[in-house]
Structure formats: structure tokens, C-alpha cells
């Protein structure tokens, strides 16, 4: 059989391997093209759904997604969604990320105008299932422990580090990362409060 002879030629190895990588690469590129808009749309929907969750009802009466301001922080832009009540600045919602055990944890933080946490949700993470994923609101109530906390009324750290937030059995790094990220978000807000609360852009 010709194929059998051909298969043993050294050139065939290189060419077949190259062909395999080119084909799979093309498949990945096509799939990326096809799925990109749908994935972006899904992420946008998630964001909308979580915006509602991190601000209690009645905090704002405008469309937050339409009233945003971009503030540069640590080399990247943070988009802040501003809540207004009767036209006056009343709340800020923005994404802030920290490092967990397995990569980035993206949080959505909702604050009132005074910088008190109204709600925190995890948008994206890659923590260990069963251990670190208790930061998701669907799996545990832990994420609610930030509500009502501000920079000056809480000890920002997990209990193991002398703070007041619980760590999880078997996963200390994950909650430590989240606590640090929420604290970072509050510091970011207090440093840029004037810009965030400023006039409608």
C-alpha cells in the first residue's frame, strides 16, 4: 500500500504534523470568530444581571450601563457605572480584579456615594471546584459578608491574617484574594471619588 510506504518517510512526519496544526489552528480561529459576538453578548447580559444584584433596589433610578466614566488605574481603564437618584450621584458600580489561587478573580463591586459596600459579586474566576468556588453567591453566602463594610469600619483581612472575614476550609488563598480585591476597590474609589462623582460625561 502506497500510504504505508509514504507514512514512513521523514518528510511525511513533518508535513502531516504541520497540516494537523494548521487545520486545528484554522478550526480554532473560525470558532473564535463565530463565538466572539455571542460570548461578548453573554458577558454583557451577565453584567446587567449582576449590576442589579450589587445595588439594592431604590439606590438608583437611571440606566447604569448608559452612564459610565473611564478612569485609568494601574495601567488599565476601569469603567465605572454611575447610579443616580433624581439626577444626583448616588452609587458607583465597577469591576475590579484580584489574584486568586488559580488566576484572576473578576469582581463587580457596588458602593454607595459614601464608599460603603452595597454588594459584591464574582463575575469570573478559575478557583478549584468544591473548595474555592464558595465565593460564588450561588454556592455560599460568604460574599454577602462585605455588605455594609467600608474602609474605616472593618478589619480588611481573613481571620487567619487577623482580619474579620472567614476563610474557607482548604482554601485560604481564594478568600484572601477576594478580600484584598474588595479593599483595593474601596481604595480606588476613595482616591478617585471626585472624578467618579463628577458631572455627567
Amino acid at each position: 500500500m502506497e500510504l504505508a510506504i509514504l507514512r514512513d518517510k521523514i518528510g511525511y512526519h513533518g508535513i502531516s504534523l504541520a497540516l494537523a496544526t494548521v487545520l486545528t489552528g484554522a478550526a480554532l480561529m473560525t470558532a473564535n470568530r463565530l463565538t466572539l459576538p455571542a460570548i461578548a453578548q453573554a458577558a454583557q447580559d451577565d453584567l446587567k444581571a449582576s449590576l442589579v444584584q450589587v445595588l439594592p433596589e431604590g439606590m438608583a433610578d437611571n440606566n447604569l450601563l448608559a452612564d459610565t466614566v473611564s478612569i485609568p488605574a494601574a495601567g488599565k481603564e476601569v469603567t465605572v457605572y454611575r447610579g443616580r437618584k433624581n439626577g444626583a450621584f448616588s452609587a458607583a458600580v465597577f469591576q475590579y480584579s484580584g489574584r486568586g489561587y488559580a488566576g484572576e478573580i473578576v469582581l463587580l463591586v457596588g458602593l454607595n456615594a459614601d464608599g460603603v459596600v452595597q454588594g459584591v459579586r464574582v463575575l469570573k474566576h478559575a478557583e478549584t471546584p468544591g473548595l474555592g468556588d464558595k465565593i460564588e453567591v450561588a454556592k455560599a453566602d460568604w460574599i454577602h459578608s462585605f455588605e455594609g463594610k467600608a474602609l474605616d469600619n472593618a478589619r480588611w483581612g481573613v481571620k487567619k491574617d487577623g482580619g474579620e472575614f472567614d476563610q474557607f476550609a482548604g482554601a485560604t488563598i481564594t478568600p484572601r484574594g477576594v478580600v484584598k480585591a474588595v479593599k483595593g476597590a474601596l481604595e480606588f474609589y476613595s482616591a478617585h471619588r471626585a472624578e467618579i462623582a463628577g458631572e455627567k460625561s
Binding site: 507514512r7 512526519h13 486545528t24 463565538t35 460570548i39 478559575a126 468544591g130
Partner: protein, 229 residues
Amino acid sequence: MSCESVSTGKLFRDGLWDQNVVFAQLLAMCPTMAVTTSGTNGLGMGLATTAVLVVSNILISAIRNFVSDQVRIPIFVVVIATLVTLVDMSLNAWVHGLHKVLGLFIALIVVNCAILGRAEAFAFKNGVWASAIDGLAMGLGFTVALTVVGLVRELIGAGTLFAQASLLLGPAFSFLEMKVIPNYSGVLMMILPPGGFLVLGGLLAVKRLLDQRLNKPASAVEPAAHCSV
């Protein structure tokens, strides 16, 4: 493994018991230890792996005549990694709700050497149909194994069975969720990695005992791809 056609019944028996990925071949230890902290997690990982395993077996089997022995492993790796990425992307785009639950497990499938093992030991030497069946049988065996390990760890560790199953399978399956031991403080070690080793060791012993009772020598494990995880 011979090249002649194998009966479907034998394939399923191999997959579920005689050559079970976890309990007989001792492959795929990485996901077995890492993910089986609850029955639900084991089930989710098992189902996601089964889907990838069936498709990868079909693909590998379809291209087997064009792949030379010398470069087969890199080609398998490329094909499997691509498949996993494709599944991840399409789930994220079109079944976003399911992706939120299963998404964590999908990336872990890449490091599962059961898939490379089946490509090497079966799909590379057998027809497309038989390979598809083998993928399904091995995948189901893997699912059962992970679910059982997960259930034992969950029961001893937290006193529940299938906790949060409705998150994975939909609200209709909330009847699976059981709190077996009320006011149970839990044995944390079973949820932590050592518990995985203890439970797996125990279950392996049970399987060996059952094999002996049935007066059947534990079947020799077929040589699989060398793989360290």
C-alpha cells in the same frame, strides 16, 4: 488490543468494570483527586469528559490511516486540545447557563490522560464506530467512578449527597439533593486532597475483593499511553 471487531457488550463491560479508567487502569488521577469533592462535581466532570472522549475517539479513528506512528502523540495532543477549546467556546457562546456551571471542569479535561490513553490504546487501532462506542463506554465508566468517589467523600465529609445538583442539572433534579446526616459537622479531611486518596484506595480494595469473590482474576491492564497524571 486486537484489530478485529469487538462486541459492543464487551466494550461496555470493559469501560464500566474490567478496564475502568479509574478503578482498573488507574489513569486520570488528576481530575479524580481534584474534582471529586462532591457527587455533583464528579458527575459534571464525568459527563463533560464523556462528551469530549467520544468526539476525540471518532476523530482520531477517522484520521488514523494518515497518521504515522512517529508523530502520532503530538497530533493526538493537538487534536484533543483543540476539541476541548472548541467545546469550551461553543458552550460559552450558545449554552451560557450550562457553561457557568461546567466551565470550571472543561479546561481540566485537557490534562485528563484517559482521553490520550483511549486515543492511543483504542481509537488509533479500531474503526470509527467501535471507537465511538469505546469512548462512550469508557466515559460512562469514568463518570460512574468519579460520581462514586465524590459521593463517598461528600457523605463522610459533609453528610450530604448530590448537594447543589440542581445547579448542574437544572431545578428538576433537586430531588437528588439529600442531607443524609442532620447537624453533621463534617470530616474536613475527606473533602481535602488526602480524602481523595483514602477513598480511592478503599474503593480499589473493594473492587479487587469483588473481582476475587466472583472467582475472576483481576484482568491484566492493557498497556496504555505513558502518562504521569
